[in-house]
Amino acid sequence: MNNVLVPLPVVLPLLAAGLRLALAQRLVRVQRGISVAVLAAVVVIAAVLVYQTDHYGPQTMHPGGWPAPIAVMLVVDRLAALILLISGVITLCVLIYAIGQGASDNDESTPLTIFHPSFLVLLAGVADAFMAGDLFNLYVAFEMLLTASYVLITLGGTPARVRAGMTYVVVGILSSVILLIGVALCYAATGTLTLAQLAVRLADLPPDVRLVLQLTLLVAFGIKAAVFPLSAWLPDSYPTTPAPITAVFAGLLTKVGVYAIIRVQTLLFPGEALTELLLVAAACTMLVGILGAVSQTDIKRTLSFTLVSHIGYMMFGIALASRAGIAGAIFYVAHHITVQTTLFLVAGLVERRGGSTSMDRLGGLARVSPLVAVLFFIPAMNLSGIPPLSGFLGKLWLLRAGVQEGTWPAYALVGVALLTSLLTLYTMCHLWNRAFWGDRGKLPERGQIIEGRRGLSGTGIVATAAPGTMVGTAAALIVFATAFTVAAGPMAGYIDRAATELLDRRAYLTAVLP
């Protein structure tokens, strides 16, 4: 059964990217309109897919009309649809924010003409990763989003960005190579690339070979997801980029890795949860990440470390591999995409007004720009897991899963998760104390050009109140995150069904191999 909506979240952004490249600097306004319209369309399509997957089971598409094992195929189940929807919303918001920032930077020059196509290809890659029903296509999707991210991270070409980009690109390429090796090994051992058929054929392999394949894929995806000890690259590369880019990276890219881990663990290796190994990795990720955050004095770096740390929460749920664990991890993914994106966008607002994201150079922002303060405080508390925000609900779900598991490692992880939560709160409040409270004398005057800081295209930043579009999109994202709390009942029900579907596998397998 082909669902015509399935390929559109990939094809439409690619079409728009092609258009933008071809038109270059002509009809800039029309082009912007097209980009926004395409992303909005993706959101709508994803919403429809959420409904369809929930009511009619996994939705599929056979590109080229070929049957499953021989050709590539796309599958959207509940998990993919949900994450696609959330990714669509946040990329739409980030794009509007970036347009606002570019407009206020008075910046119509080259980097932005690259920014938009790259951004669109990034989204296409992300969407493709979620719906890939084929292991090699998953690799291609990663290539799309990674290559686009290589371009974005070096945008503007300032020395700091190129240096950070170097780390990012080389690690990214190594991870791609490992993934490609994993794909090749899977094909060598089973003679197929379709995930559903792999799921069937892997079961026939000797356990040690299967474990080799599983661990190779886990290492590859673990790098993308920034799981300790494969996470060190992240805090070194993310903070240098302009706010909207870091925002979308932080929100989405690591979560694509997490998504891939969930998919591979549940679909391909259902019998081997590797609970102990993953629990240790989860605990280390949480602790090392949050300790890193504690030791930082720059808002973006702090946020990058919390990003790593909270990947540990998702790994916790995945490691448990129970229904509650997987569901909790999915909820946390949804929450974390939104909240990290919001925080980085707000960090951009702070940088715009305060001229810096270094806590040493900030102070008294709560009095100077109360609106920015509110926009920071709510997601910061959300990240810290303060109820009733979504971070708390995700955390609660994972804690329940851990307690229900009832083993000592699981209890230990519950403890580590709580400690991490406390330290996150400490980090956020410490940040608030220094940047938002305190002496406002350190802030630059309005209209002052700030030395050494670079905007989206590498031009200097002027200390101003951010334009309405930037503030508005950040606020919209906060509203979106709040909707998680308000609609927590239906959402949790949906995610629970998604987790059940993942663990059961039958719906997925029959949808692909009838």
Partner: protein, 941 residues
């Protein structure tokens, strides 16, 4: 009840605006909400429930329940909240910058507190619990420019959140054990067992930290940095009562638990003594009260947690009494502070005479605190003494604590209002609105005593949760001459006696140093945390790319490597080679790869790397895939050209920074990783039992109407992948271009005007004019712009001669791809190479001559064509990228058929040409320009 809570939050949202428009009077407007809720609470029937579903999957409901205990707390929270808001309306100076936010936070805090006491769901309770923590953080830090208050706020939130999170663990454990998170259901059928004991211990940690009991007591005095209304409300009436409330809520079901009673009594009693003892030597009136509060909270916790009807009812009564007198006293301190500008009791003199009404009210409130008859405090204390007839140690602690309470009470009144023989401070008398709430609370304190029997009947609703005990006696002012009365007399006598001996007490206090200072311990922990964080981060976050790569390779070697080793010995059946030549080529590739790493000059390294690529291409050919081989060869060539172009701008040698030892480690890791991958490949191929899907490819290719499996796979079976990879290629090229041009990308296309005309465009050579007869003599249009010493006629001629044949070849490859080796990718590369030759022989102008279209247009059009083909398939057949044949009837030419897969291949073709063009423009053209600008010597190919 949900509405009542929601009303608070709604008011909180509106309060800032109200304050901005109405000024301080807005506080009175806001006060209407708690006042209304107070009246509502008195009218609502008890018990009363309301349940709204929230997250059924997590067993979390918006369940509220009003019973006696909740009612007591609601009256405290809403009633005193209303009074304090009225007080706020005069306390603050108009126009303070943080006031609008303050009003919102304060009201929201009150709402959270109300929710906390009404919640009938463990998780919902926790929700409000943490909200009070967060809002109190904001309120304590009201004076944000002051370092002390910021620090105090941080300490408060860290301590209470640490307790709160511990409690969350306990709540989840308790709820899962009980099978329900509804508090009323858990209390009705309490679970038991070791897990429940653990859960209770965790929950008690939360309660103790929230109510500032030992060892968490230090945050509360620090929090006195907050404005006085905050202290009066949060730190006397509301927030600190949350822990006490939770203890009181759970005690009826769990007091018998082995963990519960010892914890509650030991920590409660210890807190009562420590708090009172430390209150005795504080000079700041507010701090004195803060330590007094700590002491009283210990007292309340012990009473309400001990279990037993008498203790519970005494505790509930004292809960009310304490909220009334302590909130009043804090407001008194605020008034004194306001009127005199100081809170230091060594500087205050003769204040009582200047504000007699406030002084009188304060004396009444203090008397209640000290337990002087006939005030509320006395009744409560009597009942408390009566509740522990058979527990002498507990009783002793309570008596000692009460005596100390009397002592600091006397000290408070004396300190705030007495003459003391020092010069009276200047006082401006307080306004009625400030004093009003205080007087009202004093009157309530006075009335509560005689009304004790009435209240007793009312509190029975809570006491009934316990079985009746022998010590039960109704609360009353007068029980006759009993042991408790005697104890009360002793307490008063000792307490008052301690006052004249205060200098002696002070000396004793100076001698006695506590063995463990909780606050210092906390600071040490936090400093240790910062230190550990720094060390851990320094260790893991080296900031060095090679280190990170080592981590990754190490993980690869350890994880799949170990799994691989566990499978030893590996079964071996797969053929390692088909033709012996493979071994030679493979060996060559390995050697070349190894040699690449050994080079210290860049150019040889690039060439060695090219050998690995060419070797791989040869392997493809040997395996019977000429198509892949062709593509790989072409790719290698283009890559090499790009490398060489870039190398012009790089130093010829690698910069060597690493030590030999590190290099050896790297080499070992690299070799090991290579061997691992090879071994994994060997094992994987040996594990295969099923026929690969590629076995079905020939059949599929026939169905698709082609003979070239590779091409069919690329443009049909796996066209979806191809589209993705094309976007990868294109965006990578765009990114590289972006990096090189940064912000100075010239206008495209940049064609050359008529020969002999205006050659000297910006960035062009700075020497020599072009020959006059350029057009007549040139082979390659555009090459005239080169300086004579860089021109090679031979090369120009060859370029001119092969350019068009190459283009024809590329077109041929493009169209023949379906059946024979070729296809859009290889064709695009050939066309790209043609352009490369043209560029190398001539210059950027030769390139512009040959290719008037910019790379962006080329790539964009290519990707667009692919996407449109996909959409066409979707629209026509319902399946994206489905091959369809489009028919057009053109008047002269007749019927035209277009197979969409060919259109798709044309898309690929365009993308590849665009990419090569981008490489030439960026790495060739632009670098030329930059090199020329910098006057460096250009090494052309």
């Amino acid at each position: 009840m949900l509405l009542a809570v929601a009303a608070f939050f709604a008011a909180a949202v509106l309060a800032p605006t109200a304050l901005r428009t109405l000024g301080l009077r807005a506080f009175w407007l806001v006060a209407l909400v708690p006042a209304a809720v107070t009246l509502w609470a008195l009218a609502v029937p008890v018990p009363h429930e309301q349940v709204v579903p929230w997250v059924p999957r997590l067993q979390v409901q918006l369940a509220f329940r009003m019973d006696t205990l909740a009612l007591v707390m609601t009256l405290i929270v809403a009633g005193i909240g209303a009074l304090i808001l009225v007080y706020c309306g005069r306390y603050f100076t108009p126009g303070g910058p943080g006031l609008p936010a303050f009003a919102g936070e304060f009201t929201a805090f009150a709402g959270a507190m109300l929710g906390l006491v009404l919640a009938d769901d463990l998780i919902l309770l926790y929700v409000f619990w943490e909200l009070t923590t967060v809002f109190s953080y904001l309120l304590i830090g009201y004076d944000a420019e002051d370092r002390t208050s910021r620090r105090a706020a941080l300490t408060a939130i860290v301590v209470t959140a640490a307790g709160g999170l511990t409690m969350l663990g306990g709540l989840v454990l308790l709820g899962l054990r009980a099978g329900t998170f509804r508090i009323s259901e858990i209390l009705a059928a309490p679970p038991a067992g070791p897990a429940v004991s653990v859960a209770l211990a965790l929950i008690l940690v939360g309660a103790l930290s929230k109510s500032a009991l030992v060892p968490f007591h230090f945050w509360l005095p620090g929090a006195m940095a907050a404005p006085t209304p905050v202290s009066a409300y949060l730190h006397a009436a509301a927030m600190v009562k949350a822990g006490v409330y939770l203890v009181a809520r759970l005690a009826p079901a769990f007091a018998a638990d082995p963990v519960w009673r010892p914890v509650v009594l030991v920590f409660g009693g210890a807190t009562m003594l420590v708090g009172a003892w430390r209150a005795l030597r504080k000079h700041d009136l507010k701090l004195l009260l803060a330590f007094g509060t700590v002491s009283q909270l210990g007292f309340l916790t012990a009473l309400l947690g001990a279990g037993g009807r008498a203790a519970a009812q005494a505790g509930a009564y004292l809960l009310i009494a304490h909220a009334v007198f302590k909130a009043g006293l804090f407001m008194v301190v605020g008034i004194v502070d306001h009127a005199t500008g100081t809170r230091d009791l060594r500087k205050l003199g003769g204040v009582g005479r200047s504000m007699p009404i406030t002084c009188a009210a304060a004396v009444l409130l203090t008397a209640s605190m000290a337990g002087v008859p006939p005030l509320a405090g006395f009744v409560g204390k009597e009942a408390a003494f009566a509740a522990f007839p058979s527990d002498p140690p507990v009783l002793a602690v309570l008596v000692a604590g009460s005596a100390l309470t009397v002592a600091y009470s006397v000290r408070f009144v004396w300190g705030a209002f007495a003459d003391k023989g020092i010069e009276p401070v200047a006082v401006h008398p307080p306004e009625a609105v400030l004093a009003g709430p205080v007087v009202l609370l004093a009157v309530v304190s006075l009335l509560l005593g005689p009304l004790a029997p009435v209240i007793d009947g009312w509190l029975a609703g809570y006491g009934m949760a316990y079985p009746a005990g022998a010590a039960d006696e109704p609360l009353a002012l007068w029980h006759g001459f009993t042991v408790p009365l005697l104890l009360s007399a002793v307490v008063l006598a000792v307490g008052v006696a301690l006052f004249p001996a205060r200098f002696f007490v002070a000396r004793v206090q100076d001698r006695l140093h506590p063995p463990i200072d909780a606050e210092r311990t906390f600071r040490l922990i936090m400093r240790g945390l910062d230190f550990a964080a720094d060390q851990a981060t320094r260790f893991t976050q080296r900031g060095s790319l090679p280190v990170y790569l080592r981590y990754i390779l190490f993980a690869l070697l350890v994880l799949p490597g170990a799994a691989l080793m566990s499978g030893l010995p590996w079964p071996g059946a797969a053929r390692i080679w088909y033709v012996p030549a493979e071994i030679v080529v493979a060996g060559l590739v390995c050697l070349a790869a190894f040699a690449t790493t050994l080079q210290s000059w860049r150019m040889p390294a690039v060439l060695c790397a090219a050998v690995t690529g060419t070797g791989t291409a040869t392997m493809f050919v040997l395996h019977g895939a000429p198509d892949l081989g062709l593509t790989q060869f072409l790719t290698e060539t283009v890559t090499l050209v790009a490398f060489v172009l870039v190398l012009r701008r790089l130093p010829p040698r690698f910069v060597e920074r690493q030590y030999v030892g590190i290099r050896r480690v790297n080499a070992a890791l690299g070799v090991a990783a290579g061997l691992l991958v090879a071994a994994m490949g060997y094992v994987a191929i040996n594990a295969r039992t099923q026929a690969p899907i590629s076995a079905a490819y020939p059949q599929a290719a026939r169905e698709a109407g082609g003979a070239n499996i590779v091409n069919i796979a690329l443009v049909d079976l796996r066209a979806w992948d191809t589209m993705g990879e094309s976007s990868v290629l294109l965006i990578a090229a765009a990114g590289v271009t972006g990096l090189i041009f940064v912000r100075r990308r010239p206008r495209l296309p940049r064609t050359v005007e008529a020969p002999g005309g205006t050659w000297s465009l910006p960035g062009l050579r700075s020497f020599g004019e072009p020959p006059e007869d350029a057009a007549a003599t040139t082979w390659l249009r555009g090459s005239e712009t080169l300086s004579p010493e860089r021109r090679s006629i031979m090369f120009e001629v060859v370029a001119r001669l092969i350019f068009h044949p190459m283009l024809v070849l590329s077109i041929y490859l493009l169209f023949s791809g379906h059946g024979t080796p070729g296809g859009g990718f290889a064709a695009g590369l050939v066309a790209g190479l043609a352009l490369t030759v043209r560029y190398l022989a001539g210059d950027r102008y030769a390139l512009a001559e040959a290719m008037p279209i910019g790379p962006g247009v080329c790539q964009g059009a290519g990707l667009g064509v692919m996407a449109v083909t996909g959409l066409a398939g979707l629209a026509l057949t319902g399946s994206v990228l489905h091959e369809t044949v489009l028919h057009w009837r053109v008047p002269v030419l007749g019927e035209i058929h277009l197979v969409t897969s060919l259109a798709f291949d044309i898309g690929v073709y365009l993308v590849v040409i665009g990419v090569v063009l981008d490489v030439l423009r960026a790495m060739g053209d632009e670098l030329d320009r930059q090199v020329e600008e910098e006057g460096e010597e250009v090494i052309t190919a």
